[in-house]
């Protein structure tokens, strides 16, 4: 961890800019999400103002509504801000859950080997081969009965897609790390398998998890929007979700009403780009194969030598 932070801090060149840009945009969205009640002028499902007057349908951007209103009488600016909260909640929940399941599973599978490993690898590979959107749709359907169509259900349907990714990476690194001398040394001092996994393997096999995590987060934003777009994700009365708003706005966009589609769409693209930048930046920083340090050219200095004695050329 100590090395990780130092490496990130010491990043140079393009990677640094990628990382910085991504982080700044992401932070803006995080601020939106955290302070949504104060930033957004209205609630995400509010259709009347404080005096009970209903908002205009598809009202153009202007004084009352900064970005206009959409066909469901919602204030678009408020929906975009609240949408950031929804997106980040779902992303965080799904990434944390898939890391919490995928990493230990990969560790155990790689360390134990044998039939446990074979079965797990087979199951994970099977999940991996199914197109991820299809998988998310199936899970969304299945969870709809049990959990409804809220944030938790949406997050859970994403978890299943991402577990195999962590599993594969962690399992493969574990398989090679298992052969390291320090693992044998741990056995030689009498460490139990669980101790070896916890104290000797874990810290050395989770190096690539932050990168996958950030890239998965970007992917999750897109998948969540896609589910919403198809009407399978979070329903408008549960929370504000950009994908759903975008799908509602498409018909009107053809009629020249551009503002209900533009802003949620822009938010999706920006957040995905920002998270991808962070992920790629981290990858460049942490992956030694990609890391390229910029070195100063060597300048030879004149030698400082005693001049009172003559040099003798050897034979």
């Amino acid at each position: 961890m100590r090395n990780l932070l130092r490496q990130i801090w010491n990043t140079k060149g393009l990677a640094r800019w990628i990382l910085l840009t991504g982080t700044i945009i992401t932070v803006v969205f995080v601020v939106f999400a955290l302070f949504a009640p104060w930033i957004a002028p209205f609630d995400f499902n509010q259709t009347r103002d404080a005096s009970g007057v209903k908002f205009e349908k598809l009202g153009s951007p202007g004084a009352g509504h900064l970005l206009g209103t959409n066909d469901q009488f919602f204030d678009i600016f408020s929906r975009v801000i609240w949408g950031a909260r929804t997106a980040l909640e779902v992303v965080l929940l799904s990434v944390i859950l898939s890391v919490a399941i995928g990493v230990p599973l990969g560790l155990v599978s790689g360390f134990l080997g044998g039939w446990v490993d074979r079965v797990l690898v087979f199951v994970m590979d099977a999940i991996y081969t199914v197109p991820y959107l299809l998988l998310a749709i199936i899970f969304a359907f299945m969870l709809n009965d049990k959990l409804g169509s809220g944030i938790v259900a949406a997050a859970l349907s994403l978890v299943a897609i991402y577990i195999p990714q962590y599993f594969r990476v962690v399992r493969n690194t574990t398989v090679s790390a298992r052969e390291a001398t320090y693992v044998e040394a741990a056995r030689a001092i009498g460490a139990k398998p669980t101790t070896i996994m916890r104290k000797y393997l874990f810290g050395n096999v989770v190096q690539s998890v932050p990168v996958i995590g950030t890239l998965n987060a970007a992917d999750a934003v897109g998948t969540l929007a896609a589910l919403g777009f198809l009407g399978l994700g979070i329903q408008p009365n549960e929370a504000s979700e950009w994908g759903y708003d975008l799908s509602r706005a498409l018909d009107d966009a053809q009629a020249g009403v551009w503002w209900p589609a533009l802003w949620p769409g822009l938010a999706i693209i920006l957040l995905i780009t920002a998270l991808t930048l962070v992920g790629e930046g981290l990858n460049e920083t942490l992956n030694p194969a990609l890391r390229r340090r910029r070195l100063r050219k060597v300048q030879f200095t004149d030698r400082v030598r005693t001049s009172d004695t003559e040099e003798v050329a050897p034979r």
């Binding site: 040394a185 741990a186 056995r187 030689a188 001092i189 810290g203």
Partner: protein, 442 residues
């Protein structure tokens, strides 16, 4: 030479070491130990259900480790010395035979039958130092954590007591002032310092036996002697018994009381260090001694050395494993088909101009790769192949392979060479050492 603690006898009047009564003269008894590994074949052979090849890394080794001595296991890579060392700690399971640990305080225990928790408990008494100190330390643990971890694992100390003991162990191995090293990571230390940390971790449990697997071979030459001296000092102070695994006969000569020379999973010669060096008996030992590059400006490059390399352990030579490389080989060494192949190839290397014609006469050599005491060669007519073999023999009539040939019979378009079958020689007493070589019969 620093004094080595004397080998204690069975009278139990042991001083030093701090271990209690009930001592046996030997700390470890290894009896006919075998460690075999199944080689995973390629994907194709697994699909076809072909039999996995078995590597006999250790094959019928019997050896005693005497209390307080330094026993050297010397050999090239693939000799099985490292596997034997690991088997002593139960790090690799025995496929056959027995390892008995005569604990000073807990009585006799059968290492080769221990599993799980029992085996882990054993590691408080038997410890190991590894060849590559950098790889032997977890890169994400500080020196304090790494050295103290054995105490944590076996729930011997915690908190302040743990810190004290870690500091004491580091002090003991010369990593002082201790404060400078406690919070360091392995990557911050030099090779010698890392090896000191590994040694500290090994001695912190106050073990009886330390298996040191090439402890100095990865270190810089300016520091090797320093680490060896540290190990000798620790042995004195703590009454340790060492198994010193190495390929370097020079350091073994200085460091060990007894030496076992290993070749292809077997001990070929074992005896007191002085005797092994003053009067080497096995041709392999002689060759090793001759091959060591000595920093002596009057020495010349040695010329009459064994050819070839250690053969494939999955299919060792028939008879004595060393016979294909041996400079003193005789008729009863176990000559076989692969030796004939080597002989032909050697002949062609020398007589490059004759290669094309003679190769056409002999044909494909791959049939000789399967170990057998009969070898079919040739496709250009029995008489002509026979004549060619006779010509090759005439070139070098002293070649011992020919003495092992019982007969050459015509077979189809070529001939069948029949060799005299032989068993692998057993260790037998010769003077004050034991040798496994047909030159030293009963």
């Amino acid at each position: 030479m620093p004094t080595k603690p004397e080998t204690l006898s069975n009278d139990g009047s042991g001083q030093g070491g701090g271990h209690g009564a009930g001592r046996h003269e030997n700390v470890l008894d290894v009896d006919d130990l075998a460690v075999h590994f199944q080689l995973q074949g390629g994907a194709l052979s697994r699909l076809l259900g072909l039999q996995a090849r078995v590597v006999k890394a250790v094959d019928g080794v019997s050896v005693q480790l005497r209390r307080g001595e330094v026993l050297g296991l010397v050999g090239e890579s693939g000799s099985g010395k490292t596997t034997l060392g690991r088997a002593l700690l139960g790090l690799v399971p025995a496929s056959g035979g027995r390892i008995t640990y005569h604990s000073a305080s807990k009585g006799d225990r059968r290492v080769s039958e221990m599993r799980g928790a029992e085996l882990r408990q054993l590691r408080t008494d038997l410890q190991m130092v590894f060849q590559d100190p950098h790889a032997a330390l977890n890169p994400s643990m500080t020196i304090e954590e790494a050295v103290g971890h054995p105490l944590v694992i076996h729930k011997i100390a915690s908190g302040r007591a743990l810190r004290m003991q870690v500091a004491e162990a580091l002090e003991r191995v010369g990593l002082s002032p201790v404060e400078r090293f406690l919070s360091k990571y392995p990557s911050d230390l030099s090779g010698g310092q890392k090896q000191r940390a590994v040694i500290a971790r090994a001695i912190i449990l106050n073990p009886e036996v330390l298996v040191a697997d090439e402890p100095v071979s990865m270190l810089d030459m300016s520091v090797r002697a320093k680490i060896l001296q540290l190990m000798l000092d620790l042995k004195q102070e703590m009454g340790l018994t060492y198994v010193y695994i190495t390929h370097d006969l020079a350091s073994a000569k200085y460091f060990c009381d007894r030496i076992a020379i290993m070749y292809l999973g077997r001990i070929v010669e074992i005896g007191p260090t002085e005797e092994i060096f003053a009067n080497p008996r096995h041709p392999y030992t002689k060759a090793l001694l001759k091959a060591i590059p000595e920093p002596d400006p009057d020495r010349m490059v040695p010329r009459d050395l064994p050819r070839g390399e250690i053969p494939d352990a999955a299919e060792p030579p028939l008879g004595c494993s060393f016979h294909p490389r041996c400079s003193e080989a005789v008729a009863g060494c176990g000559w076989e088909s692969r030796d004939l192949r080597a002989l032909l190839e050697e002949h062609w290397t020398r007589k490059l101009e004759a290669y094309d014609d003679e190769k056409a006469l002999i044909g494909d050599l791959d049939g000789l790769d399967r170990p057998s005491t009969t070898a079919k060669v040739g496709k250009g007519g029995a008489g002509e192949v026979r004549a060619l073999l006779d010509r090759i023999r005439a070139e070098n009539p002293d070649e011992p392979l020919w003495s092992g040939v019982r007969g050459i019979e015509p077979a189809g378009n070529g001939v069948e060479v029949q060799f005299q079958p032989a068993d692998s020689p057993q260790l037998r007493r010769a003077g004050s050492v034991d040798v496994a070589c047909v030159l030293y019969p009963e």
